[in-house]
């Protein structure tokens, strides 16, 4: 389903799912997000976003481990990967021709 471009937080969450490799569960994704973004992230926000992404078919979840010790682990689907690539391509297009160094130097 086409839900338009990824939201920033959605993109960050997906990237962190990828970055944590095969061990992407709620808390590990949250920790990774905090580490990279250097911001406090609430666990509830991570789970809510992961649910939404799963409903859109961009991530999938499954159970790892057994019985009471089992965990819901996430992986990015091929649709998700495409969405990430799309998002990045769009950003690159937007960046084309923008000389951020000149802007930072205060020139117009």
């Amino acid at each position: 389903m086409d839900e338009g471009p990824l939201g920033t937080f959605e993109e960050q969450v997906m990237l962190c799912v990828v970055r944590t490799g095969g061990d992407a569960y709620g808390m590990s994704v949250r920790r990774e997000l905090e580490r990279v973004t250097e911001r406090d992230i609430a666990i509830g926000a991570v789970y809510a976003t992961l649910d939404r992404l799963e409903a859109k078919g961009l991530v999938a979840s499954s159970r790892a481990g057994t019985g009471g010790a089992s965990r819901r682990v996430f992986s990015v689907t091929s649709d998700g990967a495409r969405a990430l690539a799309e998002s990045r391509a769009m950003r690159d297009r937007l960046w084309r021709g923008v000389d951020v160094l000149r802007l930072l130097a205060g020139e117009r």
Binding site: G26, D40, I43, G44, D51, E54, S61
Partner: protein, 883 residues
């Protein structure tokens, strides 16, 4: 709840945030999330200490709450369940509720007829009840604008006390902290060159505001000495009048021209303050005189601290003893008898109570009928859903969840009905305020937002009551069995006993209302049957106040001028004036002596000062002699016309013409005529003896008089009022017109609240009858549909259609008769509620009860006949093939 798996060496998570999180997470994720959180909490506690770690947990949970709530909402709405949680689905309660409400709205949308019927039926009841409840609360429950109103009481014999009595008692009102005397004293207000206008006002002793305990918004109230002769005349304004005069705080200290004299404004009362009714707009202290013995004051007192109104017996006895010592009252006005204190609320708004409560009760009954109706509708739905519910339960849905679904559906109907009902309430509110006999209190009834919330609250409560019926039926029913039955479409095991009892209840409630309405209709008919002795169709009335600034001769001239000028208007036959009109509750009783009968007890009769031509204009019939004429001038012999009641009382078997009466003026007046008895007091009083004299021949001309305008036959008296009012303002700008009305309306007012309540109750009863009929119709239709196969077989086997109709109607009739019996018993038991509105009929009036019975029978049988007729037309081939 299972304990989170926390390694032994770690401190456990603070319980409160853990519980919050647990309540908001889906079942499948609870443990792992809490474990992970506890793990990190442990790490942080080891690294940074307990407190920073706890703070971190709190922050995590609090920041998670909004997104988790949003997720629950979204999951409930979309039904999303992650792949990983499939084996242990579900989440917080919120989720399943949202799912069920959503399912219910979808179901309701797909059955628009059922939904519309249910929502509208309920909205009618809810809206009406919310509107009337808001009015009732505003008038009967909300506190009066006085401090500690439970300490304020009004003395017996209100508006019969004199200034002399007040001054005599004032020195020692033992048991009271203060007592004030007040009377109505309307004022004319003249602003610049504008025509004078009337300001309803109260004249009182200085204690009034202290007794009421209300502090003014601006300036001061009255103070000791304001009510002495020679004191500076002052006035306290109501908030409303102050606003009309510009709403400027500098008004305190300014002077206003009231009753032709200057008065200094000393205070403004706060918004919402009223006493003794909301139309009063000014309060003035009145100079109290030892010599004034005209009885027109009421005493209102605040009991001493620690005293209670009910326990004032000893204090009252002392007061009565002092009165007894000083005064020798005639038997009919003995103020030492029937000495009771009336709590101020009872005194001021008590008269509204029966009408309001009767209307509220009627509305409540309608609401109950509506609830029963919607409940039967829902029961029918449950029945037709039996197989759906059975399948669900077979697939593992527990009864709790099925119950939740039914409640969700009822709530969805309830919320919709609440919204529609609130709209209806807003519309009905104005209608009700106008239709109820609120009089001056209509001003205090304002539409507030609380009506909306009341409607919503009532609707939700009603929805829960409604859900009870299908839920009980669900829990009692045999769901699995329904599945087998559904396939054969046989006659249900349950005979719909709950539906039947709901319909019996509906019919009973409708009978109850119809009986109440019947009683009122009969009362009002009896009241209208009373002959008031005056013409009520061709007479317009203009109540005017000449203000205090004129002498008696000036007033006489003024009345003559006004009569002449108004009489010249087109369509007017004649104009006369009188100081007091019939049907307005009496008053102005003067002592009477009969020449040659000194043995008669000293007593009084109604005394009316009129212009020549008044008796003709009013349509009073001359029985003998003549009516007063222009020739009966100030220097001619004083004449008096008496009515038949007076003649019967003082001249039984004699001819009163030519005899003489004494009124307390110098000398005697000669009786020149006898007229038919008009209702000079209340409409329902016994014939009131009254006598009529001319303004030209009495030394006394009051400030307030009424112009009586007799129009040409066939004309509408109301049509001349506007022109008459303008004429008065042109001829005499200082005269204020208090009220412009017609004798027809005066008569209607004299008939009293019963008339208005009757109209309202008649409308509500119609509504109840319609709702009751819809209920009967619905249940019988359902009954017929369930037995479709039955009818088909019978018809196929040759049963006559009339027989089928008979059977169906017979079933309906059993329910209706049962309802009528219950309703009649309730009607007889509850008629006391409206007893004070009744006239001439007992509370168990057979005619009203018979009327209610036949109305319900007729409407109910018709409602049962329609589905019966339809059953008789069943095409057996069609039905049996369908099965």
């Amino acid at each position: 709840m299972p304990p989170a798996r926390v390694p032994e060496r770690l401190p456990p998570l603070p319980w409160l945030p853990a519980a919050v999180l647990r309540a908001l997470l889906p079942h499948a994720e609870r443990d792992e999330v809490l474990d992970d959180l506890a793990g990190e909490y442990g790490d942080r506690a080891g690294r940074d200490g307990r407190w920073p770690a706890s703070a971190w947990v709190w922050r995590q949970v609090l920041e998670s709450v909004p997104s988790l709530l949003r997720r629950s909402w979204w999951r409930g709405w979309s039904g999303f369940e992650p792949q990983a949680n499939r084996t242990r689905p579900g989440g917080p309660m919120l989720e399943s509720w949202i799912m069920d409400v959503r399912y219910a709205t979808r179901r309701l949308r797909s059955r628009p007829t059922y939904t519309l019927l249910a929502v509208l039926t309920l909205a009618l009841g809810v809206g009406g009840t919310a509107a009337i409840y808001s009015i009732v609360r505003g008038l009967l429950v909300d506190p009066l604008p006085y401090r500690a109103e439970e300490q304020i009481a009004v003395f017996w014999s209100p508006f019969d006390w004199t200034e002399q009595e007040f001054l005599y008692l004032r020195s020692d009102f033992a048991g009271f902290s203060q007592v004030a005397a007040y009377r109505t004293g309307d004022l004319t207000l003249q602003l610049g060159d504008a025509p004078a206008r009337l300001v309803p006002a109260i004249a009182s002793s200085f204690e009034l505001f202290d007794v009421l305990g209300t502090a003014p918004l601006l300036g001061r109230g009255f103070r000791d000495g304001d009510d002495r002769t020679g004191a500076e005349p002052v006035v306290v304004l109501s908030h409303g009048l102050w606003q009309e005069l510009g709403g400027d705080a500098s008004i305190v200290g300014q002077r206003l021209r009231l009753d032709g004299a200057e008065r200094t404004v000393v205070g403004v009362m706060p918004r919402g303050f009223w006493f003794p009714d909301p139309t009063v707009r000014a309060w003035v202290p009145t100079p109290l005189l030892e010599t004034n013995q005209s009885g027109n004051y009421a005493f209102v007192g605040r009991v001493a601290p620690g005293q209670r109104i009910e326990a004032m017996g000893p204090a009252i006895s002392r007061l009565v003893a002092r009165l007894d010592e000083r005064y020798d009252y005639p038997a009919q006005w003995d103020k030492t008898k029937n000495t009771t204190l009336t709590p101020v609320r009872e005194f001021l708004v008590g008269s509204l109570r029966p009408a309001l409560l009767a209307t509220l009760a009627a509305m409540g009954l309608i609401l109950l009928i509506a609830c029963a109706n919607v409940a039967t509708l829902m029961l029918g739905q449950v029945d037709s859903r039996a197989s759906e519910l059975a399948v669900r339960s077979a697939l593992g849905a527990d009864r709790r969840r099925l119950t939740q679904q039914l409640i969700a559906e009822a709530l969805a109907v309830g919320l919709a009905a609440g919204a529609v009902g609130a709209l209806l309430a807003a519309v009905a509110f104005r209608f009700l305020v106008a239709a109820l006999p609120l009089g001056a209190w209509a001003e205090t009834a304002t539409l507030r937002w609380s009506v909306f919330f009341t409607a919503m609250a009532i609707a939700v409560a009603a929805a829960l009551v409604i859900a009870l019926a299908p839920v009980v039926s669900l829990w009692r029913g045999d769901l699995r069995g329904a599945l087998t039955r559904a396939r054969t479409s046989g006659i249900g095991g349950r005979g719909g006993s709950m539906e039947s009892s709901l319909v019996v209840a509906e019919v009973a409630l409708a009978v109850l209302m119809a009986a109440g309405a019947g009683l009122l209709i009969r009362s009002v008919a009896k009241l209208y049957d009373i002959d008031p002795g005056v013409n009520t169709t061709e007479v317009a009335v203009l109540d005017i106040s000449t203000g205090g600034g004129l002498t008696a001769p000036q007033r006489r001239v003024l009345l003559k001028d006004l009569s002449r000028e108004v009489g010249a208007l087109p369509g007017v036959r004649s104009v006369a004036a009188a100081q007091r009109l019939p049907l307005r509750g009496g008053g102005d009783n003067w002592g009477i002596d009969v020449e040659g009968k000194p043995e008669l007890e000293t007593t009084t009769t109604a005394f009316r000062v009129v212009t020549p031509g008044y008796l003709e204009a009013m349509g009073m019939k001359l029985r003998s002699g003549r009516t007063p004429a222009e020739s009966d001038g100030p220097n001619a012999e004083r004449v008096v016309v008496i009515n038949q009641a007076l003649a019967d009382k003082y001249f039984p078997g004699e001819d009163p013409i030519g005899r003489q009466l004494g009124t307390g003026f110098e000398g005697w007046e000669r009786i020149v005529g006898v007229v038919g008895t008009a209702a000079e007091g209340k409409l329902t009083d016994d014939p009131t003896p009254a006598r009529y004299m001319l303004y030209e021949q009495v030394p006394y001309v009051p400030e307030d008089n009424s112009l009586v305008i007799r129009v040409q036959p066939g004309r509408d008296p109301a049509a001349v009022l506007d022109a008459a009012r303008r004429t008065v303002q042109r001829v005499a700008p200082s005269v204020a017109v208090q009220e412009a009305t017609t004798m027809g309306r005066v008569f209607a007012k004299a008939v009293g609240p019963a008339r208005q309540v009757m109209a309202l109750l008649a409308i509500l009863t119609t509504l109840a009858l319609v709702l009751g009929a819809v209920g009967v119709y619905g249940v019988i239709t359902h009954f017929v549909n369930r037995r479709k196969r039955d009818w088909s077989i019978r018809i196929a086997l040759g049963q006559a259609p009339g027989h089928v109709i008979g059977q169906v109607v017979g079933r309906g009739a059993r329910l209706i008769v049962a309802g009528i019996v219950v309703g009649l018993v309730a009607a007889v038991a509850l008629a006391r509620l409206i007893a004070s509105l009744l006239y001439g009929v007992g509370t168990a009036d057979p005619l009203s009860l018979a009327g209610a019975t036949s109305a319900l029978l007729a409407v109910g049988l018709l409602a049962a006949w329609i589905p019966g007729y339809r059953a008789s037309r069943t095409d057996p081939a069609l039905v049996l093939r369908e099965q």
